[in-house]
Amino acid sequence: MSENNGLAWGNILIIVASGVLFGLGLSISEMVNPTRVLGFLNVLGPWDPTLAFVMAGALTVAVPGFQYAKLMHKPFLAVSFSVPTKKDLDGKLISGAVIFGVGWGLAGICPGPSLVALNTLQVNVVVFVVAMLAGIIAHDRIFSKD
């Protein structure tokens, strides 16, 4: 993926494979089901450990992968790595995480699973996704334009 945005076939193959694998992973691990997520957040019990093992499985692969990237000068099919540049632990990070956490705790749905769950064509999933898009627009276009 070059800076002037040309997507070669190799880049497209990677995007498709990554997306499909991500969607399959969320489905196989049942993270797409709010019941599983809320079971993990249910700290007073009964507790469902699924989410912890999903994170463990993901990090088992992701930690070596992302650490290996630090040894590379550039990605295999792009000119450079795009990583967040912010370093400070500011109030915006914390308040955003708290707001997200409250929403996540209410419904048991986060952004990735919400999109995968659209496959079930349930009204409440669509309601969540539309509200989420409204929340994103509210933040990016109204309250914080930076």
Binding site: G19, V54, M55, S82, W104, G112, I136, A138
Partner: protein, 140 residues
């Protein structure tokens, strides 16, 4: 369904991990879903096509799941509709304000050993657990 399956959880997690590593080592991009959706809502030049292809592929992964895994995609969203309105608004707003969600901070950021992502992940898990617990105590 409520029975915990270590194999499903770990195998699914490994798939997700591979997905993020593939995107990063191949294309140099962070697989943060809230960032990808946010980017589509407020398009930046040259950043729309990969995000759109990714979102469509992500949804396709869920559509292929029943054929590959031989099990229906179970999604229990039986709370009242307004819960999903409130939760969706908070998730959308919060993930943008906090620069990421479970995928961007929880997996990619943690794997990069980013202090910001570690703090964000611990914070949103605690906030979510407190919220869910409070709701359960209030509603019984």
């Amino acid at each position: 369904m409520t029975e915990f399956s270590f194999i499903n959880a770990f195998a699914g997690g490994i798939c997700i991990g591979f997905a993020t590593v593939l995107m990063f080592l191949g294309n140099g991009r962070i697989t943060g879903i809230s960032g990808i959706i946010g980017g589509l809502m407020k398009p930046e030049k040259g950043q729309t096509s990969w995000r759109l292809i990714f979102v469509l592929s992500l949804i396709t992964g869920g559509a292929l799941f029943p054929w590959i895994w031989g099990r229906d995609l179970a999604v229990d969203v039986s709370s009242p509709w307004y819960i999903y309105v409130i939760a969706g608004l908070l998730v959308g707003y919060g993930t943008r304000n906090g620069s990421g969600c479970t995928s961007g901070h929880g997996i990619c950021g943690m794997a990069r050993f980013s202090p910001r992502s570690l703090v964000a992940t611990v914070t949103f898990i605690i906030a979510a657990a407190l919220t869910h617990t409070l709701v359960r105590l209030v509603t019984g």
